[in-house]
Amino acid sequence: MLSIQNLTTSYGQIKAIRGISLEVPEGKIVSLIGANGAGKTTTMRTIAGQLKPQSGGIVFCGQKIDGSKPHQIVKAGLALVPEGRQILGKMTVLENLEMGAFQRNDAQGIKDDMEKMMNWFPILRERLSQLGGTMSGGQQQMLAIARALMSRPKLLLLDEPSMGLAPIVVSDIFKVIKQINAEGTTVLIVEQNVKQALKIADYGYVLEAGQIVLDGTAESLLNDERVKEAYLGGRKH
């Protein structure tokens, strides 16, 4: 569904990602894991069209999307839940959801999806007319995910959904992601919370200093000595 070939993105002179290639097959959850500064967010921002790649290609559903504008990429069926959630704090929860559906014109479909989101995330129904900025971190993350889903994406990109959240909230969020995938949306997730991210994933890539150093099925990565050592708190005795 999403195929990335030799992608390189720079900030000025500094290459944040250097020739990475990865595949996200339809219907799967793929996790891209790595430490702070490994280039995970850069990868996501490049896919979503917020950054222009220096070289390499991104093909989504058979369509070349590198160099496209973010709103065109949303139209193509890809939605990003950005790092730090980026809720529109001065707009209500309802308006945030409406903005997620900006590219759509099917009023009835939007209404149905809105209903669906409120069933998935009951907290949103309670807070519908509240300003986005007044919600807690976990609630904002739910809203960010619901908002992205309002565009009915084929592929959902999640950039560090667990960031800054309490462990109990994190496990809720990951449950939701699993459910979203079960309902037919393909997911690419970027995480520092390696254990959680690999537990729900089908396949994983390990990013270090802007390069993919390891990839494999999520299960094989969870049992990989190097992954255990670097990301899962050492080997088990």
Binding site: A48, G49, K69, V74, L88, E98, G100, F102
Partner: protein
Amino acid sequence: MFWQQLVNGLTVGSTYSLIALGYTLIFGVLGIINMAHGQIFIFGSLVGLVLMTSMQMPLGVALVASIVISAILGLILEYTALRPLRKKNVPHLASLISTIGFAILVEEAMHKIFGADSRAFPQSFGDKTFDLGVIQIRSVDLIILAIALILMFVLHFWIQKTKMGKAIRATAENTDTANILGINTNMVIIVTVMLASALGGVAGILIGMAYSALIPTMGMTLGFKGLAVLILGGVGSIPGAMVCGVLLGVIEVFTVAYGDSSYRDAVAFGLIIVILLLKPEGLFGRKA
């Protein structure tokens, strides 16, 4: 006397509000102050006025012409002075200077096309007076007040409730976020710049009606008034622009009525300085 002056103040002030709304809308989405705003809408208004005086067109046609010409100038501003700089990611100060350049260009064009002299509005309308007991209101003031207030009401509704209005608010809050939600923010910016200029186009015609004349240099003086309202109301605040425009108008009129007309601007701007000393973020602004 008091009520009469209050109505006069509301009339003048409502046109200041329209001008300030233009500044605040553009500041909202782009984070810059459009120094060409005054010149753009006076150009549009002069075109409208010429249609009325030389071709005997009705007021409605003049208004539409002013709106359209101002909006087109706004569009040209976006493509020549704003977008090229935005693409290069230069500091906002650069666009401030490029809009000043655009302002000079438009002002010189006005002198060339319309001449530097003041142009009178036709006397045929607005001389009827209605007596409402404590106040007497000229029909021209009634028209000005009605158009300005209705326009502000519609704008408020449009920004709050329509899809495009919400997209403007989303872009104003965070352009990056608006982008990833599928909003074409370049399109939003074009709409905003044209809308801001068009509102100015209405204000220019209304002010011409109030003063019975327009002069090309009014672009600058009225522009400064709009800027003062923008700062007073809180930069980027739409209700701030609406309320404080009216407030400035009322202060000005009362200074003239109960004080000395030559102190009009001194009192008005002096009060603004005092208010800003007490509330630096503006009356409706948020603390940074």
